[in-house]
Every structure is written in structure tokens, then in C-alpha cells.
């Protein structure tokens, strides 16, 4: 069943892709095949393989139980939040909390995970910013 749903999404994606390719505007330069031919080929392969998934699905993959699924979604949400807040809050603070969340979910005690988070954030800041000179998000406090 998963493969059928996946195939359905793939087919929708392929149709969208071919439609999006059909509205590509020509610029003042032209060549023989133009900018749409190759995307059409790619879209066709997407569509054909998706139809194959619907027609001949594989065995059901081992999906995680609901709780583990929530784990994945929450972790993704935390990473999204991290990406959004990074430039506003600054590297050290946001990294402390993001790392603390991940290490907590992987089984560290709550208080220890804050410490692990802080050490990771400071460690990366020292190694990559102070020693190696990489640009990290600065935030209002400058770190």
C-alpha cells in the first residue's frame, strides 16, 4: 500500500513537473531543442516509474509505530525551528537548545542534556569560529 501511495504522489509530482516545464518562457537565445525538452524526458521517467509503483508495489516497509513516527516529526520540527531562529537568537543559544533536545530524545537525562547542549555549542563555537574562522550566526548578543 505504501508504494501505491508513493506512486500516487510521484505521479502527481510528475504531472506538476511536466506542467511547470510547459510554461518555461523562451528567452532571446534559442537552440534546437530548447529549454523544455530535457525536463519533459525527466518528467516522463518520473511518471512511468510512478505508474509502475502503483501497478507492482513492493512489500510493505517497516514503518515506525506511531510514537516513533512522532519522534521523527518532532525532531524535524525542532530542526526547522532551529533554522528559523538561528539568525535571530545567535548560534550558541539556539545550538544549545537544539542539541539538548536531540540528545535528550536519544536517551540522555534532561539536565545532563542541557549540559551536553551547552558544551557542544561552545565547543563548535570555539573550534569552528574562534580557531578556524568560519562565519556562524551572530544574533543580538554577538555569538
Amino acid at each position: 500500500m505504501s508504494d501505491r501511495i508513493f506512486g500516487g504522489f510521484g505521479l502527481a509530482l510528475a504531472i506538476f513537473y511536466i506542467w511547470a516545464a510547459s510554461i518555461i518562457k523562451d528567452s532571446f537565445m534559442v537552440d534546437v531543442v530548447g529549454p523544455r525538452a530535457f525536463p519533459y524526458i525527466v518528467g516522463t521517467v518520473l511518471a512511468l516509474t510512478s505508474i509502475y509503483f502503483i501497478a507492482r508495489p513492493d512489500e510493505e516497509p517497516k514503518w515506525p509505530i506511531l510514537r516513533d513516527m512522532a519522534e521523527i516529526l518532532f525532531a524535524t520540527a525542532v530542526m526547522v525551528l532551529y533554522a528559523l531562529l538561528l539568525s535571530d537568537v545567535g548560534f550558541v543559544i539556539s545550538t544549545t537548545f537544539a542539541t539538548a533536545y536531540l540528545t535528550w530524545r536519544l536517551g540522555t537525562q534532561p539536565l545532563w542534556s542541557l549540559l551536553v547542549g551547552l558544551l557542544t555549542a561552545v565547543g563548535i563555537y570555539v573550534v569552528f569560529h574562534l580557531i578556524l574562522g568560519l562565519a556562524l550566526a551572530e544574533g543580538p548578543l554577538g555569538f
Binding site: A21, D26, D31, A37, P39, V42, P61, L86, I124, A135
Partner: protein
């Protein structure tokens, strides 16, 4: 003799203090990443590309650093295979079968040093093979026109699933997905905006580094979260390292095994779509058939069962660089990441690289020779350093990996949009892995998409729109035959190969590709 003098110049480049230092650092980091389960050569190198790039290292120093990591990870994979029965990375899987029983018998130290020596033999001979074979392949590649190049890229995608692939439709879907992503942005030929929907962040297309780090590194973190694997790898094993002195008698008795493993590994590395995992698998199976037909000693701690696959996977790693450097077409996940390194540095691999930038090619090859000696030193007398790393629990390690991925991408792009995109790729990568859609074709599609299209359009321009030009030369027809065979073969033998590989290995890791 031309080759030798070029190689000599290469050594002059690779032996400067800075490059030598980077080589040592790369070897160290590589062995470390290889040793840690969950961090293999592909995602290890992927995380380091943006960092090497934002450090402002030049092309040759960055290449030396990252290829040392690549070779190092191939060496390091055996450490946790032998000590813990958990492959440190995909190609080290076969080393578990005899390595771990050796460790249980109290011979962990011998197994580690034997594996180190076998790795050295495999990698060293393969690097010599690279020196000999790559210039020959370049001569053939110089005959290629745009049409042949287009077909060559098709060969790469058709064979990438490998002979153990069970569902070729999924490989094809993955390749099309990658190619489709590569089309986003302004068209290199005419400048038309494609698939950008007037979104300013998409005008330059999607940076392949974002896709690679997201798909490889972040999806791995999610896999660990899903399985709640937070403990230290080092606590599950019962084996003690014991003495780490090489047992010369044992090593001597394994020389024929190493030779067979090296030959087979190099061969499968050069072939498209085989890679290091298959190299070590073939090396192990052949070795078992040659010296232990009745299955008396193999699987119970036979040193030859460690020497053959270790020589095999390291030789395959070197062999895989042959098509990558001389044709610009990688045959495995890790070499796809190495291709990303070159593209990021604005170096286009392929036959012209050998004539236009011989300093890059030969500096790189010389660095590989040097890396091998450094790695032999690190992996035989100093291997104790790395066995301790296995005590770091993954609940601390994986978040650090995630954060370093973020640091790398943020430091080159500085854009929230790109970091979000990376998280998106991470989640998509997890989903695709669940559905058993291989990720390597996606990456390769993103990397090669534009070149593939450019070659198609050039061929069309030359032929004035006649599509038959794609089958217009004997060379192109041969390449089509290879592509079709490579794509069809797994449909008949894929299931059998896969079940054979799975019979041999006992642990169930989600494969990432090598």
C-alpha cells in the same frame, strides 16, 4: 615515462608542509569517521565539504584533505566490525564475519593489524592501478563527443543501482528526481528561468551540497532517533583489544588472500555500479570458495576472511576513482560525493582535467600514496587511539553530527532558506530510505543533471535536431548496450544477489550505499 615525471611533480605538491599536515588531519578524521557506526565515507566527506570550502583552502589542499578522509574511512570501517560485530560503514560489513570471531578468541589486536595491512595492500595497489589505468581511459574518453557523453551519463544512472538492486524502477525514479531538481534555476544555455516560480532563492538553482548533507547526514540522524539507538557502540561488544602487534607469520600466510582480494576489489571498483561494498563481498566469497570449500574455518575467525574483504574494499575505493577522475562519472555514493568536492572547487573532472590541470590530478594521486603510508601508521601501531572512540555514546555523537552539518551549510550560504531546505532534504531522505528508494542516484542526478542536458543539447545542435545522433556512432551504440545490460541484469539476478549478501551479514543496518 611521461606519467612518472608527472607523478614526481605531484609529489612535490603533496609534500609541502601544509598539504602534508592536511593529509594527516584528513587521515585521522577519516579513520575516526570510518570507525564510528553511522558515519561512513559518504556522509563523513559530505559534512566536511562545506567546512573545507569556507576555510578558504585552495583546490589542491581541499582535495588532499577530503581524499585522505575518503581513504581513511575505508581503513577505519574495520575497527568496529572486528571489535563489536557492527560494521563501521557499509563496505566493512564482510569483515564482521571473521573479524569478530577472531576478537572473541582474543585475537582482536592481530585482526586489527592484519586488517590494517590488508587495507594498505589493497589501497596501495589500487592507487598504482589508478596511475596506470586512468591515462588509458582518458585516451578513450577524448574520442567522446557530446552524444557519447550523454549516453555515458545514461550508463552511470542505469548501472548505479548495482547488481544487488531489487527494484530498478526505484533507482530510475531516484535518478529522475535528482535530474529534475538539477533543472531548477536559470537554464545554462539560454538563460530562461526554469521551475523557479519567481522565487528569488531558486534563481541560482539548488546547491548540491545542501542536498547531499541533508540526504546523507541528517537522514542518518533521523534513523538513529527512530530506533532510539542512543547507547555507546563500545559497550555492546565483549571483545578486548589485547596486544596490537602484527603477527608477521599470520600476515605472511594471508598474502595470497590479499592479492586475490585486491584484484577483485579493484576490478569491481572500476566497473560502473559496483563499488566498495560489492568489492568486499566478492573478495570474501571468492576467498571462501578458494581456500575453504567445505566451510570449516570461515566464519569462525579465519584470518584470511579478514584479509580478503579488507583488501577488497580498499582496492575498490581506489578503483572507483578511475572512472570518476578520467570520465567524470562516479560509480558509487562515495565517489559521487568526491565528484561534488571537485565541482564545488570549480574543477570539472574528465579527460580535459588531465591535460588542463595535471597538477590537480597528479597532486591528488601523490597525496593518495602519502595518505596510505600515514594510514598504515595510524591503523597498525596507533589503532588503540581509535578503539576508544567507540566508547562515545551515539546520543551525544549524532546531535554533534547534525550541528556540524548545520554549521557547514550556514557558513557557506548564510541563508535561512538554504538551512531549511537542508532539513527538508533530511526528512525526504529518511522517507525515501524507508521506501527503499536509493539516495545515491538522487545525488548523482543533482550533480550531473546540467552536464547531461548540456551534452544532449550540444549533440542536437550539431545534428540539427536529429535524435538519431544518439545512436549515430559505434561507440555510442556500445555504451547503450552497456546501459541496457546494466539496467536489465539486476532484474534477473538482483534478488538472488541481495539475499546472498543478507545471508552473510547478520546485523540489519539500513544501507546508505558506499
Amino acid at each position: 615515462m611521461d606519467t612518472l615525471s608527472l607523478l614526481f611533480d605531484g609529489f612535490a605538491i603533496a609534500l609541502t608542509p601544509q598539504n602534508l599536515f592536511l593529509s594527516v588531519v584528513g587521515c585521522f578524521l577519516g579513520t575516526l569517521m570510518g570507525a564510528l557506526p553511522g558515519l561512513g565515507p559518504a556522509n563523513g566527506v559530505a559534512i566536511l565539504i562545506p567546512i573545507a570550502f569556507s576555510l578558504g583552502l585552495g583546490p589542491i589542499p581541499s582535495l588532499i584533505l577530503l581524499t585522505s578522509v575518503y581513504y581513511g574511512a575505508m581503513y577505519g570501517g574495520r575497527i568496529s566490525s572486528i571489535l563489536l560485530n557492527i560494521p563501521g560503514d557499509e563496505p566493512a560489513m564482510m569483515t564482521c564475519i571473521d573479524g569478530y570471531p577472531m576478537a572473541l578468541k582474543g585475537q582482536a589486536g592481530e585482526a586489527l593489524s592484519l586488517g590494517g595491512v590488508a587495507s594498505f595492500v589493497g589501497a596501495f595497489v589500487a592507487t598504482i592501478g589508478l596511475v596506470i589505468l586512468a591515462p588509458q581511459l582518458v585516451k578513450i574518453a577524448l574520442l567522446f563527443g557530446p552524444a557519447e557523453y550523454f549516453v555515458l551519463f545514461t550508463v552511470a544512472f542505469a548501472t548505479l543501482g548495482g547488481v544487488s538492486s531489487t527494484n530498478q524502477a526505484k533507482s530510475a525514479f531516484a535518478a529522475a528526481l535528482g535530474l529534475g531538481i538539477a533543472m531548477i534555476g536559470s537554464d545554462s544555455q539560454t538563460g530562461s528561468q526554469r521551475f523557479t516560480f519567481d522565487h528569488i532563492h531558486l534563481y541560482d538553482g539548488i546547491d548540491f551540497l545542501i542536498a547531499i548533507v541533508g540526504l546523507f547526514a541528517l537522514s542518518e540522524v533521523l534513523i538513529f532517533l527512530e530506533h532510539h539507538k542512543g547507547g555507546a557502540a563500545g559497550t555492546t561488544g565483549s571483545a578486548k583489544v589485547g596486544r596490537i602487534l602484527p603477527d608477521f607469520k599470520m600476515i605472511k600466510s594471508c598474502i595470497p588472500s590479499m592479492a586475490r582480494g585486491t584484484g577483485l576489489g579493484f576490478f569491481s571498483g572500476v566497473l560502473p555500479g559496483a563499488g566498495a561494498s560489492l568489492g568486499s563481498f566478492l573478495a570474501y566469497s571468492l576467498e571462501k570458495q578458494t581456500v575453504d570449500r567445505d566451510g570449516k574455518t570461515f566464519g569462525k575467525g579465519d584470518p584470511r576472511g579478514v584479509a580478503a574483504p579488507e583488501a577488497g574494499n580498499n582496492a575498490a575505493a581506489g578503483g572507483a576513482l578511475v572512472p570518476m577522475l578520467s570520465l567524470g562519472v562516479p560509480g558509487s555514493g562515495t565517489t559521487a560525493v568526491m565528484l561534488a568536492v571537485l565541482l564545488q572547487l570549480n574543477i570539472t573532472p574528465g579527460p580535459l582535467l588531465f591535460t588542463k590541470n595535471p597538477d590537480v590530478v597528479w597532486g591528488l594521486i601523490a597525496a593518495l600514496f602519502i595518505a596510505n603510508f600515514i594510514l598504515l601508521l595510524m591503523n597498525v601501531p596507533l589503532v588503540g587511539l581509535f578503539t576508544r572512540v567507540l566508547l562515545i555514546p551515539t546520543r551525544i555523537l549524532m546531535p554533534v553530527v547534525a550541528m556540524i552539518s548545520f554549521v557547514g551549510i550556514y557558513s557557506i550560504t548564510g541563508s535561512t532558506f538554504d538551512v531549511l531546505l537542508m532539513v527538508g532534504f533530511g526528512f525526504a531522505g529518511w522517507l525515501l530510505r524507508k521506501l527503499e528508494v536509493p539516495l545515491v542516484p538522487v545525488i548523482l542526478g543533482i550533480l550531473l543533471g546540467n552536464q547531461m542536458e548540456v551534452n544532449l543539447r550540444r549533440a542536437m545542435t550539431i545534428s540539427d535536431g536529429d535524435w538519431l545522433v544518439l545512436v549515430g556512432s559505434p561507440l555510442a551504440i556500445i555504451l547503450w548496450l552497456i546501459a541496457i545490460t546494466g539496467f536489465m541484469l539486476p532484474m534477473f539476478i538482483g534478488r538472488r544477489m541481495k539475499s546472498r549478501i543478507e545471508d552473510e551479514r547478520k546485523t540489519s543496518e539500513t544501507p546508505l550505499g558506499d
